[in-house]
Symmetry: C2
Subunit: 189 residues, 2 copies
């Protein structure tokens, strides 16, 4: 951020009075521009015992496989965002179930929220952000080609819970140090 | 938003190619400025059977009572944000427990995430954004003076679960139509 979106004046990083963190503050009109984490909403979709994955047609991680997920929009709920992403990426009309996982991706300033879901009707397809959509049996899942650590976490917890006949909510923090991920799990509930 | 934070050029609301929603797009440098919901993280703090509430010293809802909560910051987890707000608003060092509620506040473009918590040490106080901090027994809670609908929801679910000896996660959407709140609950888990 270089300029004020309110008056076009230059902004600089300073700690506003009464605050404790540096913010982009406009020297001309005084507007404080806060920046906050964004929510990525998605779902693990099961159909006839298999999991629906999409091959990404966009960066980052072009060509890798993911569960449908994307940025939550203003005016929608987290649940609506998760269902919308399933429609956009896999042309899938889903029925959302319980909340599966919440992953804090600290460096990216993101919170990844994933629900369990099933196909509300058996048809699905390939959205504009996908190269391919496919139902995978558990033993077929291409683990080395899963796009994101948060997706792998959600998928593994999903399958583990399914084997154990339970539906818990799982927590993980993902940080990066010296180019390597550092992962910390909270207690599942 | 009137000007581009990257180049100070004028922005206008248009649907970018491949998108489906209007965004603020810069006519000069082409930057697309996305706006997304923000997370409010907080906790219901119990100590010796009572609930810790703070009287707000800031708008909105100056003078009304709330559980500690506030905007999640970049670089922290939802859990860290909830604990930090307890420290800032009530000088309370808390031990977080399970996740209590997630409320989509649609018009405000906010997601309110609330945890259960206890005091890690019995001292607490009055932070700069509070006029007063107090432990309330269940029957003393000043319901008409609770600051926000999402806080009332979290508090009522907390107390109900406590009576029933369980710790569920509860969901609600809050929208506004004709000046009145419209509330829809999802299935607790």
């Amino acid at each position: 951020m270089k300029f004020c979106s309110n008056c076009a004046g230059p902004v600089s990083l300073t700690v506003p009075p009464g605050d404790h963190l540096p913010r982009y503050v406009c020297a001309s009109c005084g507007t404080i521009h806060y920046e906050n984490p964004r929510i990525i909403a998605g779902c693990v979709i099961e159909h006839q015992g298999k999991i629906l994955l999409c091959k990404r047609a966009i960066e980052p991680r072009y060509g890798f496989w993911t569960t449908p997920a994307g940025f939550m929009e203003n005016g929608e709920s987290v649940q609506q965002a998760a269902a919308r992403e399933a429609m956009e990426e896999a042309l899938a009309h889903v029925r959302l179930g319980s909340m599966l996982s919440i992953v804090n991706v600290l460096r990216a300033h993101q919170v990844h929220i994933t629900f369990r879901a099933t196909l509300a009707d058996p048809s699905f397809g390939i959205g504009p952000e996908s190269l391919e959509s496919r139902l995978y049996a558990e033993e077929e899942i291409p683990w080395p080609d899963i796009a994101f650590l948060s997706v792998e976490f959600a998928l593994r917890r999903y399958l583990e819970d399914r084997r154990l006949g339970r539906e818990l909510l799982h927590f993980r923090d993902i940080d990066w140090r010296d180019g390597k991920p550092v992962m910390t799990d909270g207690p599942s509930q």
